[in-house]
Amino acid sequence: MAGKAKAIVINEKDNVATAIIPLKAGSTVSLEVQGRAGKVKILAAIPMGHKFALREIGQGEDVIKYGEPIGQTTARIARGDHVHVHNVVSHRGRKEGSR
């Protein structure tokens, strides 16, 4: 982990990063994944600890964090947009099809 990182990517398979400080819409975040540097433009305000997309994630696709699926998107999520309960749903511990 870099000294002054604003966000963390835990696993190279992840399609989301976690903001470790609040991020403003329109700001640009530098990230390091497995030694490779990259930049993401933030599209919406991301509260501290919340996630944003590292690449576009299509509707119904898996959201990957810790290298594992954590749920599926209910709408397309653009790179840099907020990823949370408004556009991601779990398929565990509930009836299929319920929202």
């Binding site: 982990m1 000294g3 501290m48 919340h50 594992e68 749920g71 511990g93 509930r94």
Partner: protein, 385 residues
């Protein structure tokens, strides 16, 4: 590596030397509280069950109360009953006899009212406390420790800092020959395949998968949605989106060693190393189950902050959330925020946690102990009739 602990009859080893007052039934709680009031070294369990219970539900209450009495952190036990309950004080006391420690019981109906019961109970308790005070700590290998792990009030820092750091400490204890309990089965949903893969045998791995399938089926059978309870609203505000995400962060606590066995609620581990106890995600149900299973010390990670403590064991709080460490400094024992800032590695934090665990096992008080936080709640699995 050693800690300074207490040796019990039969060879069990404790980190504390409590004299415990156990109401076998909710109606004797007031008397139990009165008996232990203002007596240093005495604690009572706020038990709200013990009557009108049947079958496995009654057994679970009895096993939990007996597990507390026989926990090596307890020097001696006084069980307080009313007299007509279906979990009699005498039955609970007799089940503790194999521990070899002094166990007595009193019943309010037999003694003749609350005042007389409190007077009689206090006489017995003062004798027990005098005997307890004469016992000295001695050097005991850390391999005798059964560490209970727990997380509550989780947020994004739990999976990124405090749980991985606790996992590193768990690995150090297993390496030293000790035992680590991982529990809160519902908070393995979405991560069960990773734990099952680490099982000592395929059968143990299958047990993990079966447990998760059972909890998930139960959640669906309520006609409700597990999301109503887990992740909790505070988890969601803290950045956790789904139960899978919470679980994947949660299992870091158990470290990286093989899963040796799966045990039911409030049963003692039969093997050293990492074990899974089947408990709900409810913090105090879980804590109570691990104590009844013989755990002598607990390490509890939190993001949003939580005050939880046990009547009979030290509970060490760890947080990786800088704001929580500042705002709730009277509750948080170990600050691991530097892990998130890249200024401390997970392994370094793990070594620091392990050192603090050894100090606390040897008598250093945790913040929850200083605050007198004594949470107790049995995982109820049936109706009261």
């Amino acid at each position: 590596m050693n800690f300074q602990g207490y040796r019990r009859p039969g060879g069990k080893l404790g980190t504390r030397n409590h004299v415990l007052v156990i109401p076998s039934v909710v109606c004797s709680q007031g008397a139990a509280e009165g008996i232990s009031r203002n007596l240093k070294g005495a604690v009572y369990l706020p038990n709200v069950f013990g009557c009108a219970q049947v079958g496995a539900d009654r057994e679970q209450t009895k096993r939990t109360l007996v597990g507390f009495g026989t926990n090596p952190n307890v020097f001696a036990v006084l069980v307080v009953g009313n007299g007509c309950e279906n979990l009699p004080a005498r039955e609970v006391a007799e089940a503790m006899a194999p521990s070899g420690k002094r166990v007595e019981y009193v019943e309010i109906q037999e003694v003749g009212g609350t005042k007389k019961t409190i007077a009689k109970g206090r006489r017995i308790l003062k004798e027990m406390l005098a005997d307890a005070a004469s016992l000295q700590r001695e050097a005991i290998p850390v391999s005798e420790l059964i560490l209970g792990t727990e997380c509550g009030g989780s947020d994004y820092t739990s999976g990124l800092a405090s749980n991985p750091a606790l996992g590193a400490a768990s690995d150090l204890l297993v390496e030293a020959g000790g035992t680590v309990i991982l529990s809160e089965t519902t908070e393995l949903i979405g991560a069960e395949h990773l734990l099952a893969r680490r099982a000592r045998t395929p059968e143990i791995g299958q047990k993990v998968l079966d447990l998760i399938a059972w909890w998930e089926k139960e959640a669906i059978a309520t006609g409700q949605d597990i999301r109503g309870a887990n992740p909790a609203p505070g988890n969601i505000a803290g950045g956790i989106t789904t139960i899978e995400e919470k679980s994947l962060g949660c299992i870091y606590k158990g470290g990286t060693t093989p899963l040796e066995e799966v045990i039911p609620y409030a049963f003692p581990p039969t093997r050293k190393g990492l074990v899974l106890m089947d408990t709900p995600g409810h913090d105090v149900d879980q804590l109570t189950g691990m104590m009844a299973g013989g755990s002598q010390i607990v390490i509890f990670t939190t993001g949003r902050g939580t005050p939880t403590g046990s009547p009979i064991a030290p509970v060490i709080k760890i947080s990786g959330n800088a704001e929580t460490c500042r705002k709730m400094k009277d509750n948080i024992d170990i600050n691991v925020t530097q892990v998130l800032q890249g200024k401390e590695t997970v392994k370094e934090a793990g070594r620091r946690i392990f050192a603090e665990m050894t100090a606390v096992a040897s008598g250093k008080l945790t913040k929850a102990e200083k605050l007198g936080q004594r949470d107790f709640c049995i995982f109820k699995i049936g109706l009261n009739f």
